[in-house]
Amino acid sequence: MILLRNGLKSFLTYLWSGWGAIASLMLFLAVWESAGLYYGELILPNPRITFQTLAGLIADGSAWQELTITARRALIGFGAALVAGSTLGLIAGLSMTASMMSRPIVTVLIGTPPIAWLVLALLWFGNGDGTPIFTVFVACMPVVFVGAMQGARTLDGQLGDVATAYRLPPLMRFTDIVLPHVVSYLFPAWITALGISWKVVVMAELLASSDGVGAALAVSRSHLDTAATLAWITAVVGLLLAVEYLLLEPIKREIERWRVAV
């Protein structure tokens, strides 16, 4: 009960601290609006027109339809990267040889631009769902892998001794000693990977798909419809901000309360 009340309190404090962020976003909108006044509606529609277009897209149902398709692709790729990256990274982290061998490979994977993967994926998977999902997977996997590997590598042997000395059963050793430490490395990597997946999927759709937000962007571009383009961008960015700051960040704060001085 106390825990719940403390959790709620810290969540409300967190939301209250959002005023600063909202103020700076408002400033950004003001700059956008004045730039819009200067360049004219064709080049840069002002925020009001953009939001009206977005509201229209939501009202006629096309926004949700495309966003669902895009989200599905991003989440499948992200989920696969999460499972594969976490598992492989943990295994690699437990062995010195494996982590030394995997490091250059990971550098190559991280260094390869997603657009290069996209071209390969187009050749391999064609125009279906496979192309964006694969591109997302390949862009996210190394990030998660590195997080998991570092988490496993930095496991504190001294705490392992504590576990032995106090005769912790194997399951408790995992849940109370290994997991909290590894999660504190994994979770930030997952959040970064989620951001990457959302950006990469739009890019992949723009070039390779006939549906999804990316494809909608391609269509609005070909119609020279700047307002619709900005509306789609707003939708994508807004959704990412909402997921990150309303869902992931509070969870992260809660599970890493032990790290920061309250």
């Binding site: 001294q158 000395a165 106090y166 005769r167 909290p180 309250v262």
Partner: protein, 264 residues
């Protein structure tokens, strides 16, 4: 839970040796700890005391010699507090109880009692280790060791991070636990006075390779030792040539002081 064992339990170490790569850390160690007895290991830094304690705690495999223990609930307190950073003070103290399968309400209740006994304040019990001072962390580590109601306590410089007032307070707590249970203690310390205040047997170790060079028994019960007794015994022990060489003191350096201390 373990009940009080009436038959005296023993820790017997015979001919124990240990090597890290080619370096011999310990050689031919013999020692005994019986329940109800406090044995102190004193010696200079790097003479293998911690290795010896870790071997007794079963944290390293024994390669030479043997360790036989009939204690069935040993607890270990390490040189650093080694608290789990993601657990609150109470959950840290209750770690061993959780491992023993004791329900949450009971273990938290016992952890709270011990936390307060070791001198922690109510508001400290919900904090995380990084919010506690070094001395408070040591107290949590001691409470964690005492929480499982051990029959053997292995202590590695348990009080070195504490100020003198708190040391005396925790000596009292330790002696109290010794009195109520038939607890055996093997403790490492740098502090000769601490060893004399608390222990029945003092083993003096010398380095390279780590070995026991002197055994010193104190027959007066720990509860009856006052400050004057502790000072006198410390001076006496410091006059012993084996103790002096073990700590690298020259034979004459301390003698005038010790002579002055003797008559009182």
């Amino acid at each position: 839970m373990t009940t009080a064992v009436h038959a005296l339990a023993h820790l017997k170490v015979r001919g124990l040796g240990h090597k890290f790569a080619l370096q011999t850390i310990l050689e031919d160690i013999d020692l005994d700890v019986t329940s109800g007895e406090v044995v102190a290991l004193v010696g200079p830094s790097g003479c293998g005391k911690t290795t010896l304690l870790h071997l007794c705690a079963g944290l390293m495999p024994v390669r030479t010699g043997q360790i036989i223990s009939s204690f069935n609930n040993p607890a270990c307190m390490f040189q650093q507090p080694r608290l789990l950073p993601w657990k609150s003070t109470l959950d840290n103290i209750a770690l061993g109880l959780k491992a023993a399968g004791i329900g949450r309400d009971e273990r938290i209740c016992r952890a709270r009692m011990l936390g307060l006994q070791t001198g922690l304040a109510h508001e400290d019990l919900g904090k995380f280790p990084h919010q506690l001072s070094g001395g408070m962390q040591s107290r949590v580590a001691l409470a964690r060791a005492l929480a499982i109601m051990p029959d053997l306590l292995l202590l590695d410089e348990p009080f070195s991070a504490l100020d003198i007032g708190l040391k005396i307070e925790l000596y009292g707590l330790l002696l109290h636990h010794l009195k109520i249970g038939s607890l055996g203690v093997l403790m490492i310390t740098h502090d000769l006075m601490e060893a004399i205040r608390l222990s029945d047997t003092i083993l003096v170790m010398a380095p390279s390779p780590g070995r026991i060079v002197h055994r010193f028994r104190i027959d007066l019960p720990a509860m009856q030792r006052d400050d004057a007794f502790v000072y006198r015994m410390t001076a006496e022990l410091l006059q012993d040539s084996r103790v002096r060489t073990s700590f690298g003191l020259t034979p004459t350096e301390y003698e005038p002081l010790a002579r002055q201390a003797l008559p009182c």
